[in-house]
């Protein structure tokens, strides 16, 4: 357990104290002499000590405060030392052992080493000993009511739990008999021992009972009406307890077949699941994060759990599946689960071929964070139960109970502080207490504040972080959402993503109430800090100097000092930055499609940035001339010039009008849509937009022009080819190849008319607007049916 990771100096202070008490005859080299009463962990002690050379000096200082030991200058105590410069620049002396000393030390290991070296004894003896141990252990009832029994069962040779004061680093997992983890020892075995909220327990039990109809074929009894809580409490519960749907679907399963229990770690969720399932007559099958949860393995585990019974279990209980830590399961496995939850498929007739794999056993899922994206599907189909933290009084009462049984001295204020520090996490409280118990046997306030406990690697949600930053904590009670306001940098660090936090700060701080009066002081300061954070972030990104990330959390801390208030602030997390980014991407897309559709001669003149800012707004206006009529033929001369200019500009830029179906109406939009690029909201347009008919006219003309201009370029390249033939040997790739007219299949169409055209005809042609002929013969299609066309015929016409 991580709580057992004590500082080395701690170990060594204890060592010193022991040594003071030990009999004389110790060699000067401290390294070489553990006490006879020392446990076999002295190698561990040595290991620890050699890792912390700089701690050595501190040891001496510590011991110098102990009244019995005269302060001895460090250098003379050790014969072989050499100086080492530590990271913070201090000079420290590292004792160096000679090989002799190592041998000496190993020899002086006491004969407690017997226990370690199993092979010294013959195998059969060891085996019999082990058997005896196991027998003994089985007989000792592990219940928290009967500690005297277990104390009596201790064989000789094993020190009593409280009196053992082992030296050196002690690994608590080491299996000394009766040195179980308290979290295991005091695990609730019955319904009443559960520490979580009673109403919650009842609700989950109710849900489990719903399955009785399906599993046990018992009738589901409506639960007795819950004793009327006072209105306030009820409202409080109703806030986080969802409504249980008591109905059953047609296969007699509950409508909500899965329950999702969520909450911070160490509350007792897994215990709750186990106890309740066991209590309701199920055998618990657990699938947690240490099992293989790939979709195939998951499916087979699910099937075996729900469709088979445990053979070994004598009582023939049906299985109840508990899936622990489901937020770490791959989303495909969760999808497998969800598939099995759905009611039978509609194809009833084919039930012979496909056995619908439907869940017929209850499934309890446990997770820490129910709002993750992986669980979204599951949330929709399951009852979500958010387990609130254990109430502090209840927790400390339970802790006191346990400590009394373990005969450990405690101080109730210390217990309260411990509970708060760990966030009402009973598991970590118990382990801390067990650790303190093994070190000292009593728990006091200083120990609680000194321990390194409670700094879990919990992933804080952004909401939590923001809440912590923007609210001042009330001193009286700890609210349900943990806001450690004293440690904002730590809070933000536990979230990790500084950019998102800063973005959320940016979005939120400005809508804080009461900011008006601080316009001159706090607002510019807040923006300054954000600028600073942005600068730091850029430097990190560009130079990859990640040591600067240490500064990331202080912007939030400063915001806390500036903006925290007792009044709740509306947290805004609409992520304006992302929206802005999406919008600018769309605009960039428009711009690039515009640039790619311009003709080469235009593209020569304009590049990206100035086209947007200077040219486009005017072009947008130029292409919307006010025309008196919507028919090309009916335009008067002046309008005609305007029209021609406008279409010329549009085709030069490659703009087209596309017909779109918007809101049930057809309308024309510019393609690419420079209107969006140019227009801003709230600015009136200086040009009246074109009417639909005008746009129609434009689009028709433009299409024709496009066809014509393609032919023009063909002829012009053909002509150009003839004139400057020598230029054809340019080594640069991709001169436009001669575009000979080819038909649909790639065969060359011989068009006499094209090459025979005289220049006069060509110029004539260029002046024509609506017709694009270069052929003398054309086809005029007639719409309609021809089967009713009749012609009268007389015989004398034939003859």
């Amino acid at each position: 357990m991580e709580d057992m990771e004590e500082e080395p100096s701690d170990t060594l202070t204890r060592e010193d104290e022991e040594e003071e008490e030990a009999p004389a005859g110790r060699s000067v080299k401290r390294l070489a002499s553990p006490t006879p009463g020392c446990s076999s962990d002295s190698p561990d002690a040595k290991r620890v000590r050699s890792e912390s050379p700089s701690g050595d000096l501190e040891i001496d200082l510590d011991t110098s405060t102990h009244e019995e030991v005269p302060p001895v200058p460090p250098v003379t105590r050790w014969a072989n030392v050499f100086p080492v410069r530590t990271r913070d620049g201090r000079l420290s002396l590292v004792p160096v052992r000679s090989t002799n000393s190592i041998e000496a030390s190993t020899e002086s290991v006491p004969s407690n080493g017997e226990k370690l070296s199993l092979l010294k004894k013959p195998f059969w003896d060891v085996f019999l000993e082990a058997e005896a141990e196991l027998e003994r252990l089985r007989q000792v009832p592990v219940s928290h009511l009967d500690t005297s029994a277990e104390n009596a069962a201790l064989p000789e040779g094993y020190a009593d739990v409280e009196e053992t004061r082992p030296g050196g680093h002690r690994d608590s997992r080491e299996q000394r008999p009766n040195d179980e983890l308290w979290t295991e020892k005091y695990k609730p075995k019955s319904f009443r021992d559960l520490l979580s909220d009673a109403a919650l327990n009842r609700m989950v039990l109710q849900w489990l009972k719903l399955w009785d109809a399906c599993v046990f074929n018992k009738e589901v009894k409506k639960p007795p009406p819950v004793p009327q809580e006072t209105n306030e409490r009820k409202r409080f519960f109703q806030r986080w307890l969802p409504e249980l749907n008591m109905e059953l679907d047609k296969s007699r399963r509950p409508v909500q077949p899965v329950v999702l229990v969520a909450g911070p770690p160490g509350l007792g969720k897994t215990t709750l699941a186990h106890v309740l399932a066991r209590h309701s007559g199920y055998n618990v099958v657990e699938l947690n994060a240490s099992d293989d949860r790939s979709p195939e393995a998951f499916r087979s585990a699910l099937e075996s759990a729900t469709q088979m019974k445990s053979v070994l279990d004598k009582e023939c209980r049906p299985n109840c599946l508990v899936i622990d830590e489901i937020d770490g399961a791959p989303s495909q496995s969760i999808a497998v689960l969800l598939n099995m939850l759905k009611p039978e498929p509609a194809a009833e007739g084919k039930s012979k071929k496909r056995k619908p794999k439907v869940l017929t056993r209850p499934v309890i899922c446990i997770c820490n964070d129910p709002w993750g994206p992986a669980l979204r599907q599951l949330r929709q189909n399951a009852i979500l139960i958010q387990v609130p933290s254990i109430q502090t009084q209840r927790l400390s009462a339970r802790l006191q109970n346990i400590l009394r049984r373990e005969r450990m001295k405690y101080d109730s204020a210390a217990l309260q502080a411990l509970a708060e520090k760990t966030g009402n996490d009973i598991r970590s409280c118990l382990s801390t207490l067990q650790f303190l118990h093994s070190r000292k046997g009593a728990v006091s306030m200083t120990d609680v504040t000194a321990t390194n406990v409670g700094n879990k690697d919990t992933q804080q949600t952004l909401g939590n972080v923001l809440h912590g930053i923007f609210s001042k904590p009330r001193e009286t009670q700890t609210s349900g959402r943990r806001a450690r306001s004293s440690d904002i940098p730590g809070l933000v660090q536990s979230f990790g993503d500084y950019e998102r936090v800063n973005q959320a700060l940016f979005d939120t701080y400005i809508s804080r109430q009461g900011l008006d009066s601080e316009m001159t002081s706090k607002v510019p300061l807040s923006s300054e800090w954000l600028c600073f954070a942005d600068q730091v972030q850029s430097v990190i990104m560009s130079t990859q100097n990640y040591s600067l990330m240490a500064y990331g959390s202080f912007t939030a801390a400063r915001f806390h000092t500036m903006h925290a208030s007792y009044r709740p602030t509306k947290l805004v997390m609409n992520n304006s930055h992302v929206e802005n980014y999406m919008k600018s991407q769309k605009m960039k897309h428009h711009l690039s499609s515009l640039l790619s559709s311009t003709t080469p001669s235009m593209a020569a003149q304009y590049s990206g940035s100035n086209i947007l800012l200077e040219v486009l707004p005017f072009v947008f206006g130029i292409i919307q001339p006010q025309l008196k009529s919507s028919n090309v033929q009916l335009l008067n001369d002046e309008d005609r010039t305007k029209f021609r200019a406008a279409t010329g500009v549009m085709s030069a830029f490659g703009l087209m009008f596309q017909q779109r179906h918007i809101e049930g109406r057809y309308s024309f939009e510019l393609e690419p849509n420079i209107e969006e690029l140019v227009r801003f909201p709230g600015i009136e347009q200086s040009f009246t937009p074109l009417t639909y008919a005008a746009k129609l006219m434009f689009s028709r003309t433009l299409e024709l022009q496009k066809v014509r201009s393609s032919e023009d370029s063909v002829t012009s390249t053909v002509r150009a080819k003839k004139v400057t033939k020598s230029l054809a040997q340019v080594s640069k790739p991709a001169i436009q190849p001669e575009r000979v007219r080819k038909d649909f299949f790639g065969r060359v169409i011989k068009k006499k008319s094209l090459s025979d055209e005289s220049p006069s005809q060509q110029t004539e042609r260029e002046q024509e607007e609506a017709k694009s002929e270069s052929y003398s013969v054309y086809y005029r299609f007639k719409e309609g049916f021809s089967n009713a066309v009749r012609k009268n015929l007389k015989i004398k016409q034939i003859l």
Binding site: Q537, S609, L612
Partner: protein, 362 residues
């Protein structure tokens, strides 16, 4: 059938309307012998591209005007493909390397290598009436002040290596972002913005050609609001003509929407200084940014508009703050933070100033 800008763009060095001395000097340079690498800089709309095309025409003849667009594909070392559009004729190629973003270095190296290593055989055959052999190609690189430092160093190297077979013409708005090594390898040609009277002259010429009746006051107004940008001025003229013709002297000059938007934003800032207003301004800034207006330009315009309406006593401070925020904006990556910071600072300074002024009157 094109915009007035393109229709009346001079294609020859002789036909340029302003900076005539520079034009004749350029002509002499072309005719006199070997062409060095050129760095043409100046404000937007002053006529840099026009002059370059005219110079090329002087060099190579009218074949330069036949342009085609190509997409060229390069692969980087990490096997990523970069596509870039190039505009080329038989004698020159024009490319904007900053289009690709970070990998502009690759584009420059590969492209220049390709071009420089292919000898243009055909060119010599055409120019047989001129004595010199113009065996080089011209590469026009636009927006070189947006190039990354790596790209600029790569360019420097390439410039030296391939001096014989290709000549570079670099175009930018200002030389501050071009490293000195490149500046020293090129001949700098500064194309300053035309003066108001020159713009008015050109507008009158265009009006005459298009047989429009242009009142002088309108021409003056257009020239002034275009702030030395000839392209903008001519476009404004055309837009005004489309909107309302015959012209009237007091016609409104049409501004691009974003300028109007910034002007309105500045008015909003001056009107009220509260957090709510800051929030609204923030939304407006977001709108501008999403319309791809460069944040630097937003800063400049906004500052201009704000300064028009602030008191002299705080102007200095405001300008200093603006410089600070703008500088930091270039160091950072989220311009909205810095823009809003500047606006918040402006509001704070303005509030203080108002309070002081009020206190003085008490």
């Amino acid at each position: 059938m094109a915009l007035y800008v393109d229709k009346y763009r001079p294609k020859d060095l002789e036909k340029l309307d302003y900076h005539k001395k520079q034009a004749s000097w350029l002509k002499g340079l072309v005719n006199g012998g070997d062409l060095p690498h050129l760095l043409v800089y100046g404000p937007s709309g002053a006529g840099k591209k026009t002059r370059i095309m005219a110079t090329l025409k002087e060099l190579f003849g009218s074949g330069v005007e036949r342009l085609r667009i190509e997409q060229q594909v390069f692969t980087t070392q990490s096997k990523k493909k970069i596509e870039i559009r190039t505009l080329s004729s038989n004698y020159h190629i024009e490319v904007n390397p900053s289009d690709v973003g970070i990998q502009d270095r690759v584009v420059i190296q590969e492209l220049l290598k390709n071009i420089a290593q292919t000898q243009n055989v055909a060119v010599t055959a055409v120019q047989d009436d001129k004595e010199r052999k113009k065996a080089f190609k011209v590469v026009i690189l636009t927006e070189v002040d947006r190039l990354s430092r790596d790209a600029q160093h790569a360019l420097r190297r390439t410039m030296e290596k391939y001096m014989q077979s290709c000549r570079l013409i670099l175009v930018c708005n200002s030389t501050t972002k071009v490293i000195p090594a490149i500046r020293s390898r090129c001949l700098g040609i500064r194309v300053p913005a035309p003066s108001s009277s020159e713009i008015v002259g050109i507008l009158n010429y265009i009006a005459k050609k298009e047989s429009l009746n242009l009142p002088q006051e309108l021409a003056q107004k257009i020239a002034q609001s275009s702030t030395g940008n000839l392209r903008k001025a001519i476009l404004m003229l055309e837009a005004c003509r489309v909107k309302q013709y015959p012209f009237s002297a007091d016609q409104d000059v049409i501004l691009p929407d974003w300028e109007i938007y910034i002007r309105d934003t500045a008015n909003e800032i001056i009107k009220e200084q509260t957090p709510q207003k800051l929030f609204d301004v923030r939304q407006r800034l977001y709108e501008l940014l999403s319309h791809l207006v460069p944040p630097q330009l937003i800063f400049e315009e906004l500052l201009q508009r704000l300064l028009e309406k602030t008191d002299d006593s705080i102007k200095g401070r405001i300008i200093a703050e603006a410089a600070l925020y703008e500088h930091r904006m270039h160091l950072g990556s989220k311009p909205i933070f810095h823009l809003e910071g500047f606006v918040a600072k402006y509001m704070a300074v303005y509030c203080e100033y108002q309070e002081e002024a009020a206190a003085m009157f008490d």
